[in-house]
Symmetry: C2
Subunit: 324 residues, 2 copies
Amino acid sequence: MEKIVYYISIIEEELKKILTQKEPKELYLPIKYSLELGGKRIRPALLMLSNNLFGGKDSDAINAALAIEVFHNFTLLHDDIMDDAPLRRGYDTVYKKWGSNIAILSGDVMFVHSIQLLAKSDPNKLTEILPLFNTTAVEVCEGQQYDMNFETLQNVSIDDYLKMIELKTAVLLAASLKIGAIIGDTSLENANHIYEFGRNLGVAFQLMDDILDLYGDPEKFGKQVGGDIIANKKTYLLLKAQELAKGDLKKELEFSLSSTALKNDAKVEKVKDLFNQLNIRKLAEDEMNLFYNSAISHLDSIDAPKEKKQVFENFAKSLMNREN
Amino acid sequence: MEKIVYYISIIEEELKKILTQKEPKELYLPIKYSLELGGKRIRPALLMLSNNLFGGKDSDAINAALAIEVFHNFTLLHDDIMDDAPLRRGYDTVYKKWGSNIAILSGDVMFVHSIQLLAKSDPNKLTEILPLFNTTAVEVCEGQQYDMNFETLQNVSIDDYLKMIELKTAVLLAASLKIGAIIGDTSLENANHIYEFGRNLGVAFQLMDDILDLYGDPEKFGKQVGGDIIANKKTYLLLKAQELAKGDLKKELEFSLSSTALKNDAKVEKVKDLFNQLNIRKLAEDEMNLFYNSAISHLDSIDAPKEKKQVFENFAKSLMNREN
């Protein structure tokens, strides 16, 4: 993991350099604030790591890596407005702190900044990475739209859900890795394998999120266990349960979800009990492992030194063994 | 003017081709709606015309022209949220029709689409036009922020105001012309002259807007005469009046602006009378003519056939002689 930690520190350092205090400050202060709020910087670090895997120079990849991080934070600014979210990483969201107008416009500028950073890449690479970046950006927006649609939709299939998390979460991870690979000047085959590694890992990561929300260790999870159930959030667990439940079990499930008489704790306990009867945890873990194994299989197919690929496998494993 | 009309029709035709009905429809229907609402398509037509002036092929410039039009409409989608605007070109705004979340996200996708269209340009040109496009996009956002700041600011200078309208309105017109010039493969000098032609013309156009709002022919203007005064909008006219008014005149002006006792018509009449005492119309026209003449002088400096430049001068004249 050392190499990732190294790249994360590089990203932090370089981000500081681009955070100038420009005018009008109403526009640029929220950008600085949002980029200084932290975040794990996983995507840009993986871009650098992927470039390194194929023998690329760090200096050739750094601007594209920063572009990914700025783009990701732009999506958070706009998502927080749409989700009416007051907190992000324990701090006020830009939306909460300055209002939606500022969050819209600062977000727009961050989006332009991400393209500006990307455009600093080698022109010969830009013709490949710019279209990939753009396609990914559209997909992330589509994922957000599907996620919003699901809130009011009666019937969401497992396939719909998997597609949504792929678009909203996985493709940006995948594109980060592929952009690194392209800058690292590897074969199209390798670039596609590392994209698929990221895409499958991203979906597995999100499924793990769904599982941890209910089955995580309360001491280590750091959030209210069962928060998704309380909010009637359409997670993999709930959608799978709705797909499998029949007869009385189905009635009980729908009653527990819609009843206003049930207190939060009782609702979580009741729904968890129904999930257990349907073996939902195991089914979700099986699905997650399918994606995880597919990720690893694509990693194995990459033509690169095994010892250099090890850090990617270690990273993937750490995502699957996390407790929060 | 025929050549501009021709290019406008080309833009309309090509826009229809890119308006596919994709999924999720909640995201793509508003995009289609906003691009079909019309608009004068002046910016993309001028881009095509500029490319043509320097001997470029239409097919080389069409994607950049569409990029400018899609970008411009993206800014309208987001501006309408920020300005709480119910109507655009006589129809419901996307914001009004579908809500702010849809307007934010559809706008974001339109922004990506504009970059996608631009990226279809010749890679050798893209390295020049993408940075110009990005810089301009940031400037347009800065202009919108200054405009919002001015609403609550006590002291706005004429210079601040001119800078704001330059950023919010003029630079996109200027960049459209320069991008056309770059694709048309002309000298940097010519490209800069046509940029300055557009920038100065854009500012003159906005000053004309301010003048028409109060001094336009009510029969031809199509909007309520004096609407800016009723809304206490900080236009060139008002800022100039506030700069020049002293003593009793100053008191009368501030009273008319802040009094809630005055009915709209009376307020417009009173402020117009004060403006007349200060000779504001003439001063605004002088300022506008400075920018207009500067635009024409840059046009004259462009090394291109005089007869081909005539259409730009005719267009500039038509903007200055309009009545609405």
